[in-house]
Structures are given as structure tokens and as C-alpha cells.
């Protein structure tokens, strides 16, 4: 007899596999239609079958994200509709496999030959690759655990969970004031998975997206340098970045939208052979990256630099197959194609905002009289770096701990830097420098926009670009100084130490196995988190009856734990707006009176405010303590 928790986890895994297959099939077909038969053959030749399928996976996420957005805005994101789309994906995948079975078999044989030759090469990179695979698998097991990241439980996951519950994408005033107005491309996939499965499916999907990002950066490295060693070392650099690996399956969107950014660069890397069609793909992917997070506005300037260097730089990895004359026309056309594609992909999120609040660029522009716009303006001033930190940016990022930074970067970034200075003229390093420059432009743009705020998950894609020339330089130095045994062992020793640190950091897998085996329950895991207020949520979920309303006046309590039915019946946007507009004139008794008048039965308040709230009595309405948790208390409104 399989315990219910174990079967739920296993079911989540199965659903994700089915969902990923469908996303890939739809994406592959769409890419093939977008770039044509000849274009597909070119992508296949340059990136191999794996690269073509990977691009399809990212494209599929973009397309289905838009489909889920339309369905959820229409209020019909039902599980049966999602299953129909998934079935359609599998049907299309089956038809494509049957049609191109010969090419697929040939490609599989090529992949097998490539893997076997790598296995027999007896290169030490094989062991690095093996450690990368083992760590990735361990991280996959860890992703089975319930998400524990603060932001995930406060914002990212509740939004998706409530969309799945209500089948509708609404403003959702119960999450962080302006969150519903942010781009939700990634969360819409989570909503679809919540609708057809459970949180394990969401976490494993997030893990798959992180893994897919690693595959993408490896592909870009291979595409630019034709070296598998570079690809492996680049993947190791990203995998040893705490800001990345702690969030693999953690329920934050950074790793997922980084895929789209890297897919844009990989598509554009095909510009010398694929021409305008690569710009079309890159534009779509860049648009979807921005539809996953506005912070990806740092991607387009980097894409421009990348494209210019690919065409004009003597470092480009491929000769130009396309005619670039007249030059002015070439650039004007390509910029136009890329911009239109990016706008097409990104525009649905602005339309969503227009439908929800009437201001497409809210909360940054428009609707500034609303309470959530004031909240957003307040959040703009948040910083977590000092001027000294900015002056020593790479060191602060690698070694320092700052609030909201959510993890450092791998020490290999700083550690490999001298190798780049020594070997930047090497023929192997030069093509990778193009990616490095693009990464620098991306980071510089971020520094220009928010100089004193740093959060690693926002910069996963630029980090990937910066990792490319650094890892290439180590491979080049090792190649050129292969006779220097001391150097070789120093470098290899350092990389193995990092690899073993990664294995050590993956020890949380023990808890994942316990969770999978139903030894630890979800409730036990959340109870051990002192800030989670899961006790209050558990009480509310058990005691609030249908039709009763609960006021959640602050955002300290994690909405993820609260039943979606309670959340959607909490304060409406209109009620919050009224309270905000009258915040200076209202006494505590006015606030309780307001809640009583609007049919609320319970109010959740911080524990230290219970005595003050209880002493207030007006129009025969009294507040009695119903439950006291570790951080919060639930007050019940009762008429004398």
C-alpha cells in the first residue's frame, strides 16, 4: 500500500513528464513552422537534434504561456481544457516522430556515438561531467520537497494556486499589493500544473526549467566554441552558483525565465547562417523573457551587442553565409523583425494589465492614485548594496551576504578571471568573448537601472554569458600549458573541490527521500519554519466555514498556506483602496467597524496587537481571540 503523500509526489512527477513532452512537441512544431524547413535543417545541423528539441521546449513554454493567459483571463483555465492541450501536444509529437523517424533514429545514433566517444576519451572532463550529472540528479530529488522560499510562499506560488482554483486570472489583492500586475508568463505554467496536479508538479517543473537553462548555456558554449569541455565547465560554473542551485525547484521564476533569455542568444548565434529567421526566434524568446520578468529589460541591449559583434567582429565563430549588403538595410530590417517578434511575445502581459486595472504599464506608469501604485513607489527605494559594495561588485557578489540577494555566485567566476587575462587572444577564447561582452552589457544596464540593488536570480542569464569566456579561457590555458603538471593539478584540484562542495551542499536529499517515503509530512516541515505562520493558516483552513470572510490586513502571513477559497473572499481591491485612502482618518475602532459592516467574521493580526484590538468595542461589535499562533492571532467579530 503506497502512502497518500508518496502517491501524490509520484503523480506530480508523472504529470510533469507528460506536460513537458506536450510543451516540447508544440514548441518544436511551432519553431519548424516559424523558420521553415530549410531553417529547421540549418538549426538541426548547427545545434544537433538536442539543440533543436531544446529550442522547441523553450518556444513551447512561450506559446503555451500565452494560451494559458488567454484562457485564464477568460475564466476558463479548467483542468480538462489543459489535458486536451496536453493530449494535442502528444498527438503532434507522435505524428512528427512517425514522419521524421529516420532523421530521429540517425540523430539518436549520432548522440549515442558522441556520448560513447566522450566516455572513451578518458578526459578528466568526463569526471567533471559525471559530477555535474550526479549533482543535477540530487537537486532533482531535493525539488520534491515542499517549497520553502519566502518569496515563493508569499507571492509566486499563491498567485498560481489561486488561478488554478478559480480558473481565472484576477488582480488578487491578497498577495503583495501590486504582484498581479507583474508579468506572469512563468506562473501561468504553474497555474496549469496546479490545476491538473499538485505542488510537486510545480516544483519539479521549476527544476526542469533550471535544468533546461543549464542545457541552454551548455549549447551556447558549444555553438560558439565547438568544445564540449567548454560546455561542461560553463555548466559547472552555473551549477556551483548558490543563487542558482538553491532555487532549482524552489518556486521562484528566475531560473525559468533565464531559459528564454539564453534561447534568444542561442537563436541569434545562428544569425550568420540563418539570417532573419534567427532574429525572429531571438525576438520571440526575448519577448517571453520580459513577459516572465520586467527585469529582463536588460536582455535586448545585450542582444544588440551580440548581433553586431557576430556580424562585424573578426572573432565570430562562423563565416557569414548571408549577404549583409547593403548594411543599413540589413540592420533596419533585422531590428524591425526582432522588435515586432519581441512585442508580439511581450504584449499579452500589457493587455492583461489593461484588462485588470485599465493601465497597461501599471504599476510603474499610470493608475498612480491606486493603493498598489503607492506600494510599488515605496518598493522602488529598496537597496541592499552600499557604494563600497558597488565598487567591489564581483567580490561582494561572491563573498558577502546581503538582504534579498538570495545567494552568491560561484567562486569560479572570480577564480577563472586571471586565466581570461592570460588567454584572451587564443583562437578558442575569442568567439566566447562575444558572449562575455553581451553579458557585460546586460550587467551594466542592470547597474544603470538599479545600482544599489542586487538579487542573483534576476541575473542568471547574464551570469551564463559571463561564464562562457571564463570557462573557455581555462580550457585554452590547459590546452596550451598541458606540459605544466603543477598548473594542471592546481586547476583540476580547485575544480574538484568545488564539485565536492556541490555534492556536500546537496545533502538535503536525505530529507527529500524521507518526504518521498512519507516519513516527514508537509505540515511538519512548515511547522519548523518560525516565520511561516502556518499554524494560523492551518487553523483558518479548519475553522472558517463557507461564506465567512477573513480579513488579512497585512502581508506577513504566507498566503500559500491559506485555502484559496478564504483568500478570494478576503478584502477586495475596492475595500483595500478605501482603507488606504482613509488611513490617516480612521481610528482602530473605525477599521473594525468597517470590517464588521462588510461581513467579515475573522481578522488576522500580529500577536502583539491582540490586547489593543480586544479593548475596542463599537456598535455592539466585540473582537474576541479565536486562536493565537506563534506570530499571529485570529480575532473573531461577535455582536454583543
Amino acid at each position: 500500500m503506497i502512502p497518500p503523500q508518496t502517491s501524490q509526489v509520484l503523480l506530480g512527477i508523472v504529470v510533469v513528464v507528460l506536460y513537458a513532452g506536450s510543451v516540447t512537441a508544440i514548441g518544436v512544431l511551432s519553431s519548424a513552422i516559424a523558420i521553415g524547413r530549410q531553417g529547421s535543417a540549418t538549426v538541426h545541423t548547427r545545434l544537433g537534434l538536442f539543440g533543436f528539441v531544446w529550442l522547441g521546449f523553450v518556444m513551447g513554454q512561450g506559446i503555451l504561456g500565452v494560451v494559458w493567459l488567454v484562457l485564464s483571463l477568460a475564466g476558463i483555465l479548467n483542468s480538462w481544457l489543459i489535458w486536451i492541450v496536453c493530449a494535442l501536444g502528444w498527438f503532434l509529437g507522435g505524428v512528427m516522430l512517425l514522419t521524421f523517424r529516420r532523421q530521429a533514429i540517425q540523430a539518436m545514433i549520432q548522440v549515442r556515438c558522441g556520448v560513447l566517444s566522450f566516455l572513451h576519451s578518458r578526459s578528466w572532463y568526463f569526471w567533471v561531467g559525471l559530477i555535474v550529472v550526479i549533482v543535477s540528479l540530487l537537486r532533482g530529488l531535493t525539488a520534491l520537497l515542499p517549497p520553502e522560499n519566502d518569496d515563493a510562499l508569499t507571492e509566486y506560488l499563491p498567485v498560481a494556486k489561486v488561478i488554478a482554483f478559480s480558473h481565472t486570472l484576477d488582480f488578487q489583492p491578497f498577495v503583495l499589493a501590486n504582484y498581479g500586475l507583474y508579468p506572469l508568463q512563468v506562473e501561468l505554467h504553474w497555474a496549469a500544473l496546479f490545476a491538473i496536479s499538485n505542488e510537486t508538479a510545480v516544483a519539479v517543473w521549476d527544476y526542469l526549467c533550471a535544468l533546461s537553462f543549464l542545457a541552454g548555456i551548455g549549447l551556447l558554449g558549444w555553438c560558439l566554441t565547438s568544445s564540449r569541455r567548454v560546455a561542461i565547465l560553463t555548466v559547472l560554473m552555473l551549477l556551483s552558483t548558490p543563487g542558482f542551485y538553491y532555487l532549482m525547484g524552489g518556486g521562484k521564476t528566475g531560473n525559468a525565465f533565464a531559459q528564454s533569455s539564453i534561447a534568444a542568444f542561442l537563436s541569434l548565434a545562428l544569425l550568420p547562417t540563418l539570417g532573419r529567421r534567427s532574429v525572429l526566434l531571438a525576438g520571440l524568446c526575448a519577448g517571453w523573457a520580459m513577459a516572465g520578468g520586467y527585469q529582463n529589460v536588460i536582455v535586448p541591449p545585450a542582444l544588440m551587442v551580440f548581433a553586431v559583434m557576430l556580424v562585424h567582429s573578426p572573432w565570430r565563430p562562423l563565416p557569414l553565409d548571408i549577404a549583409v549588403k547593403p548594411l543599413k538595410r540589413f540592420w533596419v530590417t533585422n531590428i524591425l523583425v526582432g522588435s515586432i517578434a519581441a512585442a508580439l511575445a511581450g504584449m499579452p502581459m500589457l493587455i492583461k494589465n489593461w484588462l485588470l486595472v485599465g493601465c497597461p504599464l501599471a504599476p510603474a506608469f499610470g493608475c498612480q492614485q491606486m493603493y498598489w501604485a503607492a506600494w510599488f513607489r515605496g518598493s522602488l527605494g529598496i537597496t541592499n548594496l552600499s557604494v563600497t559594495d558597488v565598487l567591489f561588485y564581483p567580490f561582494a557578489w561572491t563573498f558577502a551576504y546581503r538582504n534579498s540577494m538570495l545567494g552568491n555566485i560561484s567562486p569560479l567566476f572570480l577564480g577563472f578571471l586571471p586565466f581570461l587575462l592570460l588567454s584572451y587572444q587564443s583562437s578558442l577564447v575569442r568567439p566566447a568573448l562575444i558572449a562575455g561582452f553581451a553579458g557585460l552589457v546586460s550587467m551594466s544596464t542592470a547597474l544603470f537601472i538599479t545600482p544599489l540593488f542586487l538579487s542573483t536570480p534576476y541575473f542568471i542569464a547574464p551570469l551564463g554569458l559571463l561564464a562562457l569566456p571564463l570557462s573557455t579561457s581555462v580550457v585554452a590555458v590547459e590546452r596550451d600549458f598541458c606540459h605544466g603538471r603543477n598548473v594542471r593539478w592546481l586547476v583540476r584540484g580547485a575544480i574538484f573541490v568545488v564539485s565536492f562542495l556541490l555534492l556536500f551542499q546537496s545533502r538535503g536529499v536525505v530529507y527529500a527521500v524521507r518526504y518521498l517515503a512519507s516519513i516527514d509530512s508537509q505540515a511538519v516541515r512548515y511547522e519548523s519554519n518560525p516565520n511561516a505562520s502556518s499554524d494560523v493558516a492551518t487553523w483558518l483552513n479548519a475553522h472558517v466555514q463557507s461564506g465567512q470572510r477573513v480579513a488579512l490586513p497585512n502581508h506577513d502571513i504566507y498566503p500559500y498556506f491559506v485555502d484559496p477559497n478564504i483568500l478570494v473572499n478576503s478584502e477586495s481591491a475596492g475595500e483595500r483602496q478605501w482603507l488606504w485612502e482613509h488611513r490617516y482618518s480612521l481610528s482602530p475602532s473605525d477599521v473594525w467597524h468597517f470590517y464588521a459592516q462588510h461581513g467579515f467574521t475573522y481578522v488576522v493580526v500580529p500577536k502583539d496587537r491582540v490586547d489593543g484590538a480586544q479593548s475596542v468595542r463599537r456598535d455592539g461589535v466585540a473582537l474576541n481571540v479565536a486562536f493565537v499562533g506563534r506570530e499571529h492571532a485570529v480575532l473573531r467579530m461577535e455582536k454583543d
Partner: protein
């Protein structure tokens, strides 16, 4: 006389290449040592940071006992 001049030039080139190769090798060793230092500092800081949080599992306890 011409042969002597050619030989001297070749010797000078070889000498320069040797010096250059030595210089490069020296800097590569320095780079490799720099890499080691970065990794060791990172591991110490990362481990300390994790141990400062409430000791939650036996592995952290061992690390704590080892005084890292």
C-alpha cells in the same frame, strides 16, 4: 660573419621565447593559486554562514564541531 650574426639572432629569439614562456608559466601558476584562494575563502564563508543559521541537521553539527 653572416652565419655568426644569424646564430646570434636565433639565440636572442630563443632566449626571448624562453623568457616569455617562463613569464607566461609564472602567471599561469599565479592564476591557479588565485583560483585556489578564491575557492577556499568561499567555502569557509559559505560554511560559516550555513552554520550560523539554526543547526538543523547532523552534517552541519559535524561541521560545527570541526570548528569550520
Amino acid at each position: 660573419m653572416e652565419i655568426d650574426t644569424e646564430l646570434n639572432t636565433e639565440r636572442a629569439v630563443c632566449q626571448a621565447e624562453r623568457v616569455s614562456a617562463f613569464g607566461q608559466k609564472f602567471w599561469v601558476v599565479i592564476a591557479a593559486l588565485w583560483l585556489q584562494v578564491m575557492i577556499v575563502v568561499f567555502i569557509i564563508l559559505e560554511t560559516k554562514r550555513r552554520v550560523q543559521t539554526p543547526v538543523s541537521d547532523w552534517m552541519n553539527k559535524i561541521v560545527y564541531l570541526l570548528g569550520m
